[in-house]
Subunit: 344 residues, 2 copies
């Protein structure tokens, strides 16, 4: 068995020779070869130029024994064609210039045809597939409707999600219309990525952890459920909600072949709470990579011990890798995951 | 029964006529009378001028039927005399100018005598007590050692707690020395506040939710346990950790007569997980105050239903009130908590 198979087999809870590992944001600033590309090209240019997106997608897979590649893109890209005007600031943080807060704003949001309107991404997917040539699987992804909704109502990242929640609490019909439109988009966006060749899709609900269980159930769950049920079943679906331990069972209820876990939950307790239905992905704290080798090894071993070499565990960080992560420790972590999890 | 008794009786799980309510950051920017004081005085001047701190402490208690006052102060104040140089930026965010990251930095941190070196706070406590004249109890507070440690290692607020965790993971002995010194300080600081007259103390561990259970157990629990056990038992102890649902039972293990809950956990499940030992405080999402009256009432009713009018529930928001919270809704919430929870 090789890098060609482990990740996809684990997504289906099939046996593997060792636990597959990949890293959220593995194509990113912690790599000098990424920074080299970025000295010449803006973030958005890299996203929209297939040759550059392909190069950056492949960089971490060349350097490390990663068991999956993930197409280089940003979760905000599809919003552009929906009529949302955004830009990336110097530190790559998103800023939305026409925030969506009133009914009329929501009504203006357009449906899109990603296969045509985001041909740059579909081309990049096809090109990466040719380059990988079956040796490493390719993951596609999208932001979840809630996370996209929160970006466009807040105007960027947020601490309190005041405008997002205010819309939910004051104008629930407007909120649900926004979520419906975003859900429609994510469905076609991910299904088009699958048509273009990605072999698994991950839905990132990065900010949904700001909600109480009651709010998730009322304002997110119906939409997220429809989304997960509408995805092409030929590719496994990974559902990752950050900082959302308290929503774990609702995330599962929404759907997903694999549930992503951050480091705020113990993987054994989480998998048990999920009744061992489906796989789990995670869950090392990204900051652990700044620790001593001894610390990293200890934490990796603990996660593997808790996962008990069950079929269906995909090793990952509990959130995106940080731009200053020490590269030697990244390699060390990837290699010891394979080594310590080798099935006898 | 009146505002004089409800809060303290609830802390001790004694019967009350209705559920007591107060609001974290109730003395703050959402009040026009607070903003009026602040046009003339800086944040730090208000903290250090007893007459002003007293006025601001009393403002919300005059305006609303709140069941407790909390002394106006900032969790960073005691750090000044320990040798930490900090300031409050224009938006009142803290910035530390001499971050503590190496062993030598930690060794330089001094012990303090709050009764003398923070006489301004002790004077304010005594003056508020005279003004309140037994009609409303007064709460004292401190940041928890972890939260203070993270401020001084990061240099302010943080997203990833990279320096804090790096110290823990690379130099555990340095980390533990820092936590010991901060724990020593918090013990004497809170006990001095009790001596000066506060009738309950709350420990705010605002940022500890960034830790995994394993990290909390190893790097925080021993210190937090020593802290909680060393506080004068004549005043009830409230232990509030934000965004830390995943640490709930460890927070209880550390100690506290009352455990504070944010909105990320359902109050019935939380109290049950705590075996109904001690009281619970919370847990309305602060952003709920931006909702319609109908929404606010529904959420308040849900929390009260889940708390089942058990002795030991103190109503509060799950985090500090936001500076733009609509004041009419604040009053509405306080009043319906009392109304909807009135014991038959």
């Amino acid at each position: 068995m090789s890098r060609a198979d482990r990740y996809l087999r684990a997504c289906k809870k099939e046996s593997v020779d060792c636990t597959p590992v990949w890293i959220m944001r593995q194509a990113g600033r912690y790599l000098e070869e990424y920074r080299a590309v970025r000295t010449k090209h803006s973030f958005i240019d890299v996203c929209k130029t297939p040759e550059l997106a392909v190069e950056i997608t492949l960089q971490p897979v060349r350097r490390f024994e990663l068991d999956a590649a993930i197409i280089f893109a940003d979760i905000l890209l599809p919003l552009e064609k929906m009529g949302i005007d955004f830009e990336f600031t110097k530190d790559d943080g998103p800023r939305i210039n026409n925030t969506v807060r009133a009914r009329a704003d929501v009504e203006k949001i357009r449906a899109i045809n990603p296969m045509e309107e985001m041909a740059y991404l579909m081309d990049a997917i096809r090109m990466v597939k040719r380059e990988l040539n079956g040796k490493v699987p390719l993951i596609g992804f999208s932001g979840a409707p809630f996370t996209l909704a929160s970006y466009i109502t807040e105007g960027g990242g947020s601490r309190n999600y005041q405008y997002t929640k205010a819309m939910m609490y004051q104008e629930p019909a407007t909120w649900h219309l926004l979520m419906e439109k975003l859900t429609d988009m994510v469905i076609v966006y991910l299904n088009d990525q699958i048509k273009a060749g990605v072999q698994a899709v991950q839905v990132f609900d990065s900010w949904v952890g700001c909600l109480s269980q009651a709010d998730y159930r009322e304002f997110v769950l119906p939409h997220q459920k429809r989304l997960m049920a509408s995805l092409d079943s030929s590719a496994p679906h990974v559902h990752f909600a950050f900082n959302a331990s308290h929503l774990l069972r609702l995330i599962q209820e929404a759907g997903g072949d694999v549930i992503g876990l951050d480091w705020r939950i113990e993987i054994d307790a989480a998998w048990k709470a999920l009744n061992y239905e489906g796989g789990v992905q995670g869950n090392l704290d990204p900051v652990a990579l700044y620790g001593s080798r001894e610390y990293i090894k200890r934490r990796v071993q603990e996660i593997l011990d808790k996962a008990e070499n069950r079929n269906g565990h995909i090793f990952n960080l509990g959130h995106g890798i940080l731009p200053t992560a020490p590269i030697d420790n990244v390699k060390y972590m990837i290699d010891i995951v394979h080594e310590l999890s080798a099935r006898k």
